[in-house]
């Protein structure tokens, strides 16, 4: 019985270690993530985000429409 408890406690050492490491890796991976998800997060913070973007398409300086409410909306628009 005592041996079993001891073994469980010993097994817990690795489990605790793994839990700590997992937490740190999760934080680190998120902060370093170079994927579009991170870029999208950054884009959300631009002035054309949110409600304003839904009302009107954003127009870049060169006159090219760069943001539409959605691809489907754009297709419908063009079919018309």
């Amino acid at each position: 019985m005592a041996r079993q408890a001891e073994e469980e406690e010993e097994g817990g050492e690795f489990a605790d270690f793994l839990a700590d490491v997992s937490k740190e890796i999760a934080q680190r991976v998120e902060s370093l993530d170079p994927t579009p998800k991170a870029a999208a997060e950054a884009r959300k913070k631009t002035p054309i985000a949110g409600e304003e973007r839904r009302k009107t398409p954003a127009v870049a300086e060169a006159g090219v429409i760069v943001e539409w409410p959605s691809i489907a909306d754009r297709l419908i628009e063009e079919i018309r």
Binding site: G11, I25, E30
Partner: protein, 200 residues
């Protein structure tokens, strides 16, 4: 430096246990190995002489599974402590991400500790690492020996830990302080994880 590889979804970190002969480096790895659940137990490679001294090095691959979508592996190595295996120690340090310096707390081993620490610094510098900044943790092992035979942790720290890095008392033979040390060096290594440089 260890890298988060977003392409292959892998994280690999190499940690080396360094220190004088018979300070308990292999014992540290043996304790970690003994605590691994069966499904995670790979092979611990130990090349020892007939007298159980590490001849080449010990290698313990620690497969931590998939964490946040990344296959995560820690590779734990020891170096042979005896002075005449200098070339091996240098070889094992190649590509290291973090070092645990396992010091022998016995008062009569102080000179060996100092010599090994100097050897570590020289080899790190030779391998292109900055000994002043590489992740490092000090472990003062054999705290289970009689008080009259061992130096106080404060004294060891004053003599060996001039960088002021995290330090731990340990009795690796009983498993005491082993995971605390590993957790600490892992944390230091992970805090330096970087994304790979992008071409362009």
């Amino acid at each position: 430096m260890s890298v988060v590889n977003y392409g292959t979804r892998e994280i690999t970190c190499k940690i080396v246990y360094y220190g004088p002969g018979r300070s308990g480096k292999t014992t540290n790895l043996q304790h970690v190995y003994s605590q691994l659940p069966e499904e995670r137990k790979g092979k611990m490679v130990s090349l020892a002489t007939e007298t159980d001294r590490t001849l080449f090095f010990d290698f313990l691959p620690l497969d931590l599974g998939t964490i946040s979508g990344f296959a995560t592996r820690f590779q734990l190595y020891t170096v042979p402590g005896q002075v005449y295996y200098a070339a091996t120690r240098k070889l094992v340090l190649q590509g290291v991400d973090g070092v645990v310096f396992v010091a022998d707390s016995q008062s009569r081993q102080l000179a060996e500790n100092i010599e090994s620490l100097q050897d570590l610094h020289a080899n790190l510098a030779d391998e292109g690492f900055d000994p002043r900044t590489i992740p490092l943790v000090m472990q003062y092992n054999k705290r289970d020996l009689p008080a009259g035979e061992i130096s106080a942790v404060e004294d060891l720290d004053e003599t060996l830990n001039f960088r002021g890095v995290p330090h731990y008392g340990a009795a690796a033979i009983n498993g005491k302080g082993v995971f605390e040390t590993l957790r600490s060096i892992s944390s230091l290594v992970l805090s330096r994880l970087s994304a790979p440089a992008t071409k362009g």
